[in-house]
């Protein structure tokens, strides 16, 4: 009785293995790639309507192919992607934050798309997104969309403080901020500009505006440049400005920006252009009082961090052809136009940059993107982000735990350690 059970079990296992082997053989056959195609997109990056329209069009062109779009959260995405890329059935198409592409590419997780560049419309891509998707001269990440930060402000509070026009440079930012602080002295915890100390995407705009940088590469070695006088003086200026025009925590990050602004305890926050829509939706009575202007620099608008995403194909994907066709659609002008109009992002091509011309918010964000900065293009950059090196430096400076000189020195050492590992 027992023995026959074992035999049945072994036979069943054998059948299952044979069946699995057949399954594998069927999927690698090049002639009939029926997918399914797995697509990882970041949560909130594209409106659902755009993606479902695209899926319909894709499936019409590829009958019988199922497309599974799986929305991913930004928190912990780097670890999750590294793990997924190592499996035998990775996602076929991936959206990746533009600071992360070179890390995945250098680990060998992404397919080389250099030869596909012209067929994907590579001639008119935004330069910065293209560079973010390139490692050692090879293309791994197709530009998807970009986004940058602007100052969102409350026109009502500005008018009541007697300010007629938004500040055009950083001196005016302090002057206007102080007027706002005086006018709202009775509001506990009020900030003219709510700028949490760890919001390095916003704060480094002033470092780059002063001619500073995060790190530079000479030969094969990276060196931090935060101790340079340009960066140090910019950070000292930010410290002084923060103390004069706001009460945001020196060791906090930007997650509370919207709620503080909506509660009336801030007249300005620095956020991606689409937060304008979020605030207007959360608090409709603020809708007509909202305005935006570029981050003011020493003499004009400061360079902005050009965030955004690239699209890649997993090196181990068994559906390379389908994946490429999917990216062609998503990064092509039809759906890029829809993303720009419905999603409010900056599209990937210079030919589409006039789409926001009539929009009072997005046109400001698009114009600001003309002067942008980006993180050092090193495969190890993700390590700098996940170890909070810049955030720790800023928090130390703004909470007074270390001088600008000491904090930047420690950060430069940490940058060299992480970037050259």
């Amino acid at each position: 009785m027992k023995r026959s059970n074992v035999v049945v079990g072994i036979v069943a296992l054998g059948v299952a293995l044979v069946a699995a082997a057949c399954g594998n053989a069927a999927t690698v056959a090049p002639t009939a790639d029926t997918g399914p195609l797995t697509v990882w997109l970041m949560n909130g990056s594209a409106p659902d309507a755009v993606i479902s329209a695209l899926n319909t069009e894709f499936q019409a062109a590829h009958p019988g192919v199922t497309v599974n779009v799986e929305l991913q959260q930004w928190g912990g995405i780097s670890d999750k992607t590294n793990t997924a890329l190592s499996t035998q059935s990775p996602p076929d198409v991936l959206e990746m934050g533009n600071t992360l592409v070179s890390g995945f590419a250098s680990a060998g997780g992404l397919a080389d798309l250099t030869s596909k560049q012209s067929s994907l419309g590579g001639g008119t891509w935004l330069q910065s997104l293209k560079e973010a998707g390139t490692l050692d001269g090879k293309l791994y990440g197709v530009p998807y969309y970009a986004g940058d930060r602007v100052v969102v402000y409350n026109k009502d509070l500005f008018a009541r403080a007697g300010i007629s026009a938004p500040p055009a440079n950083r001196d005016e930012l302090i002057a206007d901020g102080q007027k706002l602080m005086t006018a709202n002295a009775s509001v506990p915890g009020f900030s003219a500009l709510y700028l949490p100390g760890k919001d390095w995407y916003a704060i480094f705009s002033w470092v780059f505006d002063s001619g500073g940088n995060i790190a530079t590469k000479s030969g094969t070695k990276w060196a931090g440049t935060l101790e340079d006088s340009a960066a140090q003086s910019a950070l000292s200026w930010v410290k002084d400005m923060r103390s004069k025009v706001g009460t945001a925590p020196g060791d906090g990050d930007e997650t509370k920006d919207d709620s503080v602004f909506e509660s009336g305890k801030a007249a300005m926050v620095i956020e991606a252009g689409w937060h304008y829509g979020v605030i207007a939706k959360d608090k409709p009575e603020l809708k007509d009082k909202l305005g935006v202007f570029p981050i003011p620099g020493a003499s004009a608008a400061a360079p902005v961090f050009l965030g955004g995403s690239n699209l890649g194909i997993a090196a181990k994907s068994k559906h390379q052809g389908l994946a490429l066709d999917y990216i062609k659609l998503l990064a092509g002008s039809k759906y890029q136009t829809q993303l720009a109009v419905q999603g409010g992002v900056i599209p990937n091509s210079t030919t589409l940059l006039n789409l926001h011309a009539s929009d009072p918010v997005l046109s400001v964000a698009d114009a600001a993107a003309a002067r942008s900065w980006f993180v050092p293009n090193s495969p190890n950059w993700a390590s700098v982000e996940s170890n909070n090196i810049l955030q720790d430096m800023l928090a130390k400076i703004f909470t007074g735990r270390a001088s600008v000189a000491d904090a930047t020195k420690a950060a430069d050492q940490a940058l060299a350690d992480k970037l050259n590992q």
Partner: protein, 328 residues
């Protein structure tokens, strides 16, 4: 098989000798086939082997290899690199400050957990039935709260802008705590983490100690009273020696738990503070393994160093336990 039950407890159990003969009697051993105990142990051994032994052996193995995202993703063979990972970690000043911080943090947490837990256990012993029930239920509820949820709630209580703690302290005129940040100072952040860790560990520790106290024979206390011992002397001379084995086990468990604290600090670091000055060894190992540019070999080496240090500490405690076992 069937004869065993009827044959075994023939004689009344009068002392240790009787107990021994019941459990390990020759007659019983003779009738049970030799492989039965092993069969009974097998499921637990298999589960432990799969969940503990295999991962641990694998961890030790990759700590001697160069194993990064590149090897993982491209299925490249990993190279044995000897002690390279260990040398890299031990040469980092950061490692030593993290280790020192972890040892101090764990020491303070264990001491507080045991001391306050003992206090609550004594309180439970003296409370009336209703209050004892209420306190026990509250503690079980605290115990049942998942760590991430609990930490998030504590973080909100101590929030700089919206936290109730700052409001209460300011309202009580204990100082101006408006917009006081509890996280920006590393000691303060670790102090808050201590509060959360001890709060989470107290229910188990105090309920176990209370159970231990309830086993102390009442006549010993009576005798102490007759001899004119005060409360402190009674505690020191009667309760404490009898609780010593339980206290040792609890200290051992707390040491292991508090040395590995991860969630509480990780969640608090997301809300504020300076990561570099508040990392404990668990978080540091996590960053080595998975942070941005993964290096699983270095992460495994860090974890293994942690295990070795923990083993050295627990060996002392286990040694004492064995000695207590021998004496009694």
């Amino acid at each position: 098989m069937q004869h065993v039950t009827s044959a075994a407890p023939a004689t009344p159990l009068t002392g240790p000798a009787g107990r021994r003969s019941r459990l390990f009697g020759r007659r019983r051993a003779a009738t049970v086939p030799w492989h039965v105990p092993y069969l009974l142990l097998a499921p637990a051994a298999l589960a432990l082997g799969a969940a503990v032994v295999f991962p641990f052996v694998y961890l030790v193995a990759i700590s001697f290899q160069q194993f990064r995202a590149r090897e993982l993703i491209q299925d490249l063979p990993t190279h044995w690199v000897g002690l390279t990972n260990y040398r890299y970690i031990l040469a980092k000043p950061e490692f030593w400050s993290v280790l020192g911080r972890t040892l101090i943090f764990a020491g303070v947490n264990v001491a507080l957990t045991i001391a306050v837990g003992m206090g609550i256990a004594l309180l439970l012993q003296r409370l009336g039935t209703r209050m004892r029930l209420l306190l026990s239920i509250s503690m079980v509820l605290a115990w049942a709260t998942p760590t991430v949820t609990a930490t998030q709630v504590w973080q909100w209580l101590f929030d700089r802008d919206f936290g109730v703690v700052n409001w209460v302290l300011t309202s009580l005129r204990l100082g101006n705590f408006t917009q006081h940040s509890w996280l920006s100072d590393p000691t303060s952040l670790l102090g808050l983490a201590t509060l959360i860790v001890v709060w989470g560990a107290l229910p188990f520790v105090s309920l176990v100690l209370y159970a231990g106290l309830s086993q102390v024979p009442e006549d010993l206390y009576e005798a102490a009273r007759v001899d004119g011992a005060n409360a402190w002397a009674t505690f020191r001379r009667v309760s404490l020696p009898l609780l010593a084995p339980i206290l040792l086990v609890l200290t051992l468990l707390s040491t292991i738990w508090d040395f590995r604290v991860f969630t509480q600090i990780f969640v608090l670091q997301k809300s504020g503070g300076i990561s570099e000055d508040t990392n404990l060894i668990g978080i540091w190992a996590y960053h080595q393994s998975f942070g941005g540019t993964p290096n699983y070999g270095r992460g495994a080496a860090t974890a293994f160093i942690g295990v070795v240090i923990l083993l050295m500490i627990t060996a002392v405690l286990v040694g004492r336990m064995v000695r207590i076992g021998d004496e009694s």
